[in-house]
Amino acid sequence: MEFFRDSKIQFMKYRKYWMILSLVLLLVSAIVVFGARRLNLGIDFAGGTQLTLKFSEPIEVDRLRDIVADAGVPDAVIQSFGVAGANEALIKTPIVEGSEEGSQGLVVSALDAALDNSGAGPDLNRVGREVVESFLTSRDPDARLPGLADSTGLVDQAPYGPIADAILELRREQGLITDWASISALAEVTPESAEALESGARLGKFSVLGAENVGPQIGSELRRKGLLAIVSSMIGMLIYIWFRFELRFGVGALVAVLHDVFITVGLYALAGFEFNLTTIAAFLTLVGYSVNDSVVVFDRVRENLRRSRSRPLEETMNRSLNQTLSRTVLTSGTTLLVVGSILFLGGDVLRGFAFILTIGVIVGTYSSIYVASPFALLWETLFGRGARGRRREARAASR
């Protein structure tokens, strides 16, 4: 199968209209980012606390919101998470003034109170391995203790360690243990231990799958570093292209990258995704991809220019674009296949990432044709050799 065999599309002819389209898209982006929706900064940059919780029973987002608000944590963002029926929720709360350590404790204890989740004994859905082990050791249902304390009275073994491990592993797999039967079914758990656990411990109504807290100090640092990474990588690539090609191509590629990043940022914000560290990684990848695409075209332009200096740049560009069109479409296509798969199948955590790359690949392909080359051309007409010559003549004439 071959695409675009000997195609002769006059890409540069209608460049003005494409530029207008780009400008409109950029304007929409700007309105979204600075006006309508603004950036949804995740806790990586804004600071704050984020909890991922799994509940034993379905719980309304509104109810969670009320509980968190009643706990004295205003402005929490709450959304359901994971596949339907998983009863998982994300709770994001802003920075607690005057503290680096966040609102995790506050939120969890408010949930305990509201869900009637407190009681005697350790909550097997919350405590760590050590606590389970310690609980069992203190009860000693299997009589494993005698003989363990040596003459010095020191205990140097963990007789109930395997049981604690098995229970924690079960929680790892399921996220939340909901019934005692699944505990007694574990090979490591003796009937006596199961009974001791059931009578003395409890299975709480929710577990904390993930907890993150970013203090205000780190948040502002990550923000600065992320921006620095993007800006410096763009400058680095500009310098590389300038060095390898010519300044006009460097400028064209840079404008194309800025174009891609801004439009993608706008669409990303419009879709309501959150900005976090992974987002920065995705944008940097997008920068790399966008330049990559432009460079391949410029490479061809350079080659064609060497062969025929006398032809106008516009014509050479059209020819080069046509010659690289198959490659552009095919590589963008395969990349799209992969990032598209991640977008639809990759799960919640990777979705934002895949979104940026999907949009980025589409916009990046467009811009390598309709933004990078026209800008190199524009730069040439404004500041190129011909332009310089014309200006010199004009000055001479006015004298």
Binding site: G226, A281, V295, R327, T334, G346, L350
Partner: protein, 524 residues
């Protein structure tokens, strides 16, 4: 087959073999990031100001003492900031004496006469040294405490070479609150003789103790409270003790501390004293048989047993602890005190089930994407599409091999990076193939089309990959945590795809060409 081709084949085989071997078995060789395997990531800050303040207080007290000893009875001092103090009460005629003393006793300080005081300011170099030492010491203390916690493969390191931040990574830890408490706890332990009630049983209220002393405590005695706990360990009431202000021994005198079980199988801490501490302890306990000895932990009386016999170099701490508490307490006691308070700036805990879901979904999506890419390449380039499949396979093997070889950590963005690399891995091949097609269209023979295709595409391939590599380098330089993992996989992917497109793909074509004397058609 030509010898050159054979050698190339051997090299390619070796590269793949080395990659595959270093990654095998995958589960053991690739270390997963905390976002995938679950665990706790902490960034904490050592409040170095604390250490500076303590140092300033110490030097101030020394200097005042020294001045008073030298006949300047009126000399007194006051700390003005964490690294500065004023010496007051020194007349203009004696100011020179202060300077002489300071030069001798406090070489790390600058000083100057100001109005009626001598102002001292710690030299910046000295302050840096103290701050630096306090971070190092905190790092060591935290390492001791975490080691005792029994986490496998913990990472505890300073963030950057300078600075007062420490990064702690604890894979598999699902109870971060306890770890945080354990790391932060300063656990100041001291043993004090009980002045009242004499048997160490505790009084129900402050008033009762004050009543005993007629309403005013002696100068060398203070009141300390302690909780009364029930058998479950819950606090049910407070009781009060009058204890001597001077400690018999403190946590500094401990050589070792270990959790253990008491006579009634209740959790206790066994402690062992240094030689010096043991002697002091023996003297005091020997002389005070029958009196209560309060064990004060962080300002609270944990228990106040009656001394029954002289104790020399070891003993127990009891006080209705849970098993977990005695373990934590012995850890904290053994690892020494933190030189300064710490603040948690960042905390990330990922439950393993969350990570497992991400791996499964990422893997599924990646495999589907890969299958689609392979299918596309066969559709577009027919048999030459084999090259693309080889490129993809090599990419995967080399990425995992390099990850294992460099001990890099695979993170969630890293998986995304691999997926993206898969999409772009065929790019170099595509560039070459398109060029070959063009040459064929211009009527060249298969052999010269392949030569020209590879030759002309080379600069595009290099330029395109180097620009992406630049992005990856910046990512690595400025990124943090997971982003760096992404940068690593992306860079490895770029090298792998360069190798497969320039070297392996060429070799495959050459193999085809060498089979027959004349090749008229190329399936591309």
């Amino acid at each position: 087959m030509k010898r050159g081709l054979l050698w190339k084949g051997v090299i390619i085989g070796l590269v793949v073999l080395v990659g595959a071997l270093s990654a095998y078995p995958l589960g053991e060789k690739i270390s997963l990031g905390l976002d995938l395997r679950g665990g706790t990531y902490l960034v904490l800050q050592v409040e170095t100001e604390d250490a500076l303040r303590a140092e300033t207080d110490k030097d101030l007290a020394r200097l005042v003492q020294e001045l008073q000893d030298k006949g300047l009875e009126t000399a007194s001092g006051t700390r003005t900031s964490s690294t500065a103090f004023d010496i007051l009460g020194v007349g203009a005629d004696r100011a020179a004496d202060v300077s002489t003393e300071a030069a001798e006793f406090l070489p790390g300080w600058d000083y100057q006469r100001r109005d009626d005081a001598v102002a001292f300011e710690m030299k910046a170099q000295n302050a840096n040294l103290i701050a630096n030492q306090s971070v190092k010491q905190a790092l060591e203390t935290i390492r001791n405490r975490v080691d005792a916690f029994g986490v496998s493969e913990p990472v505890i390191q300073r963030q950057g070479l300078e600075g007062n931040r420490i990064v702690v990574q604890l894979p598999g830890v699902d109870d971060p609150e306890r770890v945080k408490k354990l790391i932060k706890n300063t656990a100041f332990l001291d043993f004090r003789l009980v002045a009242y009630p004499p048997d160490g049983r505790g009084a129900p209220s402050r008033e009762e103790i004050l009543g005993n002393y007629g309403g005013r405590l002696p100068d060398d005695v203070e009141i300390v409270s302690g909780p009364i706990r029930d058998s479950e360990g819950n606090v049910v009431a407070e009781q009060y003790y009058a204890v001597e202000k001077v400690s018999v021994i403190t946590g500094r005198d401990l050589k070792d501390a270990r959790p253990g079980l008491g006579d009634f199988n209740q959790p206790i801490v066994n402690f062992f004293l240094t030689h010096e501490g043991g002697q002091r302890f023996g003297d005091v306990t020997g002389a005070n048989i029958g009196r209560g000895l309060a064990i004060v932990l962080d300002g609270k009386v944990r228990s106040a047993p009656t001394i029954r016999a002289q104790i020399r170099d070891s003993g127990i701490i009891e006080g209705s602890f849970t098993r977990q508490e005695v373990e934590d307490l012995s850890t904290v006691l053994k690892s020494g005190a933190l030189p300064a308070a710490i603040t948690y700036l960042e905390e990330r805990t990922v439950g393993p089930s969350l990570g497992q879901d991400s791996i499964d979904q990422g893997l599924k999506a990646g495999l589907l994407g890969m299958a689609l890419v392979v299918l596309t390449m066969f559709l577009v380039y027919k048999l030459s599409g084999v090259n693309a499949v080889v490129a993809l396979a090599m990419n995967i093997v080399l990425i995992f091999g390099a990850l294992a070889y460099f001990g890099a950590t695979l993170t969630l963005p890293g998986i995304a990076g691999i997926a993206l690399t898969i999409g772009m891995a065929v790019d170099a091949n595509v560039l070459v193939f398109e060029r070959i097609r063009e040459e064929l269209r211009h009527g060249r023979t298969v052999k010269s089309a392949i030569d020209a295709g590879f030759g002309k595409a080379l600069s595009s391939v290099l330029d395109a990959n180097i620009t992406t590599l630049l992005a990856a380098l910046f990512l690595f330089q400025f990124g943090t945590g997971p982003i760096r993992g992404f940068a690593v996989t992306l860079s490895i992917g770029i090298f792998a795809s360069l190798f497969s497109a320039i070297f392996v793909s060429r070799w495959l074509f050459d193999m085809i060409l060498s089979r027959r004397r004349r090749v008229d058609r190329l399936s591309i």
